[in-house]
């Protein structure tokens, strides 16, 4: 873990409201596991706390985050300029486990793609990628993953499967003869719930990346907890014991 100084080397609005920001880190991270995240200090006194973002990509001291503008912090972050210098704490949290058995299936909803992008890259050709978004424009969010031949659903039906990503996943799963799957999911809470409902019968192995409001991002404040089925200590820190959890251990 480093509180690294990152210089903005690239900013790109991938789709309207979605930005890709690349930093050169002076002190590079040691090892990054897909699903881990960083806490970014937005360079403005209007934003007090740091903001958490998944590590979208990382290689040789170059860090990429992909984010959606939803509030004050992300708005200001979308306005940083190349050459600006930010504090970036990371890599943080427990990422996805890569050594599991089962055919890997990734499910991402909207900006949730940011959380599984590095995972998809690591897993490579063998993976099935399901991506749900609002409309055809947002399919640009997976344009660098065409080699994985992602299945895309749009809510407005403007491209691919018409409907939400879990309905699309359902069709896929029903077509499978063997059930030896390993699901990795990241997306809005509603999506995670729907996945749970879909998989509960067989309790198909599934890891999910969870979001929660954070203050410290490194386990200091106990502000970011998620309730689990652990009786002794139900509330686990998303930033420390997560953000990736076994779907069957958390209480949604």
């Amino acid at each position: 873990m480093e509180d690294a100084i990152g210089t903005v080397i690239e900013k790109r609005e991938v789709v309207k409201g979605f930005f890709l920001l690349k930093f050169h880190l002076i002190t590079p991270f040691s090892e990054v596991i897909p699903g881990q995240f960083v806490m970014v200090k937005v360079p403005s006194k209007e934003v007090f706390l740091r903001r958490p973002f998944s590590i979208y990509e990382y290689e040789n001291g170059i860090l990429g985050i992909l984010f959606k503008v939803v509030g004050k912090g992300t708005k200001l972050l979308s306005a940083v300029e190349e050459g600006e210098v930010l504090s970036i704490l990371g890599p943080l949290g427990r990422g996805f486990s890569l050594d599991s058995k089962g055919r890997p299936v990734i499910v991402a909803g909207g900006i949730g793609i940011a959380g599984v992008h590095l995972l998809a890259k690591k897993l490579g050709e063998g993976v099935s990628l399901f991506f749900g978004c609002a409309n055809i424009a947002e399919k640009a969010l997976v344009s660098d993953m065409v080699h994985l031949r992602p299945s895309i659903s749009t809510l407005d039906g403007s491209f691919g499967f018409s409907g939400n990503v879990v309905e699309m996943l359902k069709n896929y799963i029903e077509e499978q003869t063997s059930y030896d799957l390993k699901i990795y999911a990241c997306g809005p809470e509603g999506m995670i719930r729907a996945i749970k409902d879909l998989l509960i019968h067989d309790r198909t192995p599934c890891e999910v990346l969870i979001e929660e409001r954070m203050a410290c991002g490194m386990g200091l404040c106990y502000g970011c907890v998620k309730k689990t089925y652990d009786v002794r200590e139900p509330f686990k820190r998303v930033c420390k014991e997560g953000p990736v959890f076994d779907l069957w251990q958390i209480s949604l």
């Binding site: 409001r213 490194m218 200091l220 404040c221 970011c224 998620k226 200590e233 509330f235």
Partner: protein, 299 residues
């Protein structure tokens, strides 16, 4: 280098800088960045006789120059802390202040009793911001008599020095400080968070009712330190919105013997080591030989 050590209750602390309770986890979480043993004292997360699960989320909310938190005192309980975490501080020779709380006098006393005479435990810090469920839920720290009786009761079961940690949501914090002092409190920690709420105007709801911390409360904390130092002759640990060396100096000058850094660590995890370094430099540069020379220099 100037000597920034502090003699307190017959112990030499390597510096007068601590974390504020509940803002540095169980201690080791920060160690990928710096060592807990760099601080004069590690202050534990709030502990209680029995474990507590805490509140549902959202537990944190950003506001102007600060944050609200409603962690709800989640903790593993005093016994597990002593068993699983304390040995690490002993190994690293880090003096520990145990911050603890209860919802009845018995819970406070019970908790204090568990804290055996471990040499490494430097003192106890009583969080007085909890509601007394046997007295209709009024906060222990709001009533001078309740404060007096509670501290008396705790003092009778422990030989450790006690810091009473006061809430700013009181009529007159000096009156409470005096009660604590008269009951035998060995020191004061000033202040705990200030109760507040936030409104989510998009949803039309109150997402959080919690405690305000950060620079927003600094003037209130400085006032508490300044006034209480004039009213009672016991050491004060100052906390509330300390983000920089300058803030730390403000607290010393207002009357704090040592300071505690809380929320700042979330914004910049290196705040504590930076203040420790800065303090050395400041004393040297200004020709002071110890922090006590600036403690309480304001009239």
């Amino acid at each position: 280098m100037a000597d920034i050590s502090l003699n307190l209750f017959g112990r030499k602390l390597k510096n007068p800088v601590m974390n504020a309770s509940g803002t540095l986890g169980y201690g080791r979480e920060i160690e990928p960045l710096w060592r807990v043993s760099e601080m004069g004292v590690y202050v534990s997360k709030g502990l209680s006789l029995k474990p507590h699960h805490g509140n549902p989320t959202p537990r944190v909310w950003e506001v102007s120059s600060g944050m609200l938190n409603s962690i709800g005192l989640q903790n593993i309980g005093i016994d597990r802390f002593l068993e699983e975490y304390l040995p690490y501080f002993s190994e690293t020779k880090t003096p520990v202040i145990i911050n603890f709380f209860g919802f009845t006098v018995e819970e406070y006393v019970g908790c204090a009793e568990r804290i055996k005479d471990d040499e490494n435990i430097f003192a106890l810090e009583m969080n007085l911001s909890c509601p007394n469920i046997k007295e209709g839920g009024i906060g222990f720290g709001k009533d001078p008599n309740m404060v007096f009786n509670l501290i008396k009761a705790v003092k009778s079961v422990t030989t450790k020095p006690i810091f009473a940690k006061l809430s700013p949501e009181v009529k007159n914090i000096v009156e409470i400080a005096k009660s604590a002092y008269e009951a035998g409190s060995d020191g004061l920690t000033l202040i705990n968070t200030m109760p507040g709420v936030a409104v989510d105007i998009r949803k039309g709801v109150i997402p959080i009712k919690g405690g305000l911390s950060g620079p927003a409360i600094k003037p209130v904390a400085l006032k508490a330190v300044y006034e209480c130092r004039k009213a009672v002759p016991i050491p004060i640990l100052g906390t509330g919105g300390i983000m920089s060396l300058e803030d730390a100096l403000s607290f010393f000058m207002a009357g704090a013997w040592a300071i505690q850094v809380g929320t700042a660590t979330f914004v910049d995890p290196y705040t504590i080591p930076r203040i420790i370094d800065g303090l050395k430099g400041y004393l040297e540069h200004h020709g002071f030989s110890s922090v006590s020379e600036i403690t309480g220099i304001t009239e």
